[in-house]
Symmetry: C2
């Protein structure tokens, strides 16, 4: 383990002081910001997410704001998913692709008004990419990064906590729908969302000076439900089959390869970035797919920074893109991005530092 | 201090195993890769760079490769610096701007052939930005990230070490010029370059499987000169006035504001990305500029993650974008990005966590 070296190139979120006060022990860097990943008790943090309610600083999920008469036009040009039915107050999960059909991000798109959208992004520089597409197309839209920073409440008890603070109307929010409102005078948007499958909400803070105040409101309100700090959980997201773009994908991965084909509408207009490549890829047949791996062995393997080769009969057929101990499955599990001809049910070998480890291929999600 | 959480989203460089073996204690994340920043003895690492020779894993400086008949056309479209005189074997420092004239990266451009260029980038996603510009313009060029990872030798004795390994021809290389060659069968490009003002070379490894071998060749060759591990040094680069894009710049900084106007040629063709905005900015007058700050006090201040407000007569006039203890100046120094009407020689106040600290504005570089 090694420390994160302080530099102004890496920005804190408005909840950074709260995360430090809660005892953050590890972090990742995401969109050149610090994302807390642990508070020193991974077991407690995992089970709190599975059984209770966990509070996350996910201010690193930056918003790319599209504002102006052509905001909707640009949103659709960037999205291979058909947005024509998207209503104000609705969010949609959208894989963004480059002109070659390679996935470069997978934001939640929020439609705040007919001329105002946010892309709540994963870890890549979408703001200057999107603004350059807009400029090249001569669109009348301003692309910027507004002062908006999400905090997440995740877990089966998250709804009770958020309803306690915001009111019972939040129970009626459909998945990815949101409402703009205030808490104690703090401007926020409240969305049913979050990077887990345990249910919950994201509270988009719209005033970066009030992060500590917002954090404490939910921390205090959540005490009866045993709220505590947590973070997007590698084990839970893997069990649940969520995709991490940039981790599970490489510089040539298209959405069809990683189970995101259902978010691609091949009949959107021809001017959508990447759609012509995506149609060609689909027509020619997708070469790789993503399956789960259940590795042999009953000892938790350490987390690592690299992808590992997968072999069958001594021949490389793809790579394991992540691997983590699953407390519920009591096994090391991961994702395979492999040749499409290799199917669930087969046993393969993963080339790990300690040697080859047998693994069984299964369909995702695991749980 | 907190640890970097392992994930495959953050990639190791080919020199990662060497950095770990050398005792890396801290790292930054740069282009979603791990960049070692310390090996546990910052004092020794600093003075080794100033007086000797330091070996750096800077594999995070990714190459964005432009290859094909329109490679040169694209290079110029992306560069507000005139490249018409750039020769094969030559490198040039180029600030890249978006269509609004905002600086988004500042790579060294290397011309390897008339149809082959590398942009050796700072920390932002230039590959899909550049490839999207190429696609929008209908250019015949392939944009990719090749298997190329720089290692740096920096310091006044670096030339002796590199000449010992490569031959005396390296002594004749002009600044940013390079040559493609081999060391022990390992394909490399050798360039007089590096993110310090202490002199040195970057060795671009062109086979990621041979990082440890290349590291050890230079480590062993450098023993007579007292070589040791190091990293881009916050103190040295600040003393030397080098710009860190993304740290010293914000989402609205143009090259003129941070002393990079000399790398902008306003008479390049109209189709260069951002040039029209840069001409307008220049004509209207640049609103901010970058100066040095020498803070009062004789105690090294800790490094931090955030920018800090600068006040004059109680009014905010800009921000301090970095701050570090200078061992040679025996003072905390930093950069100010401030209103252009505020000049060197004035004394201002920096709003730090511990309260206001007086600071004198000076011209850059400090040394």
């Amino acid at each position: 383990m090694f420390a994160v070296f302080p530099t102004a190139r890496l920005r804190p979120s408005p909840f950074y002081a709260s995360a430090v006060a809660e005892g953050m022990t590890a972090a990742s860097i995401y969109n050149r910001m610090i994302m807390p990943t642990s508070y020193g008790d991974p077991q407690a943090e995992y089970w709190r997410l599975i059984n209770g309610v966990s509070q996350w600083d996910v201010g690193v999920e930056r918003q790319v704001q599209l504002k102006g008469p052509d905001a909707g036009v640009l949103a659709q040009i960037l999205s291979p998913r058909d947005l024509s039915g998207c209503k104000v107050g609705q969010g949609k999960y959208v894989p963004l692709c480059n002109h070659r059909g390679t996935i470069i991000n997978d934001p939640i798109l929020l439609k705040l008004a007919d001329d105002l959208y946010w892309l709540s992004i994963a870890d890549s520089d979408i703001w200057f990419w999107a603004s350059s597409i807009a400029a090249e197309r001569g669109l009348n839209v301003e692309v910027s990064e507004p002062d908006v920073s999400p905090m997440a409440l995740q877990g089966p008890k998250a709804e009770d906590v958020v309803a306690h603070v915001m009111g019972d109307w939040v129970r009626g929010l459909k998945y990815f729908w949101f409402r703009e409102t205030e808490i104690a005078g703090i401007p926020v948007a409240v969305q049913r969302s979050g990077w887990s499958k345990q249910g919950g909400f994201e509270i988009y803070l719209k005033d970066g000076t009030r992060g500590t105040q917002l954090w404490n409101i939910f921390k205090e309100a959540g005490q009866p439900w045993g709220i505590g700090p947590g973070a997007p959980a590698t084990a839970e997201r893997t069990e649940s089959g969520l995709v991490s773009v940039g981790g599970d994908t490489d510089e040539a991965t298209n959405p069809f390869e990683v189970r995101l084909g259902k978010y691609v509408d091949l009949d959107v207009a021809d001017d959508v970035v990447g759609i012509q490549a995506l149609r060609r890829i689909k027509a020619e047949g997708v070469k790789r797919h993503q399956l789960g791996l259940v590795l042999e062995g009953e000892t938790p393997a350490p987390l690592g920074f690299r992808r590992e080769d997968i072999l069958r009969d001594g021949k490389r057929i793809g790579m394991m893109t992540n691997c983590v101990w699953s407390p519920r499955m009591k096994a090391n599990i991961g994702y395979a991005l492999i040749d499409a001809s290799v199917l669930a049910g087969e046993t393969v070998q993963v080339l790990r530092d300690q040697g080859q480890v047998a693994a069984k291929l299964v369909e995702l999600p695991f749980l």
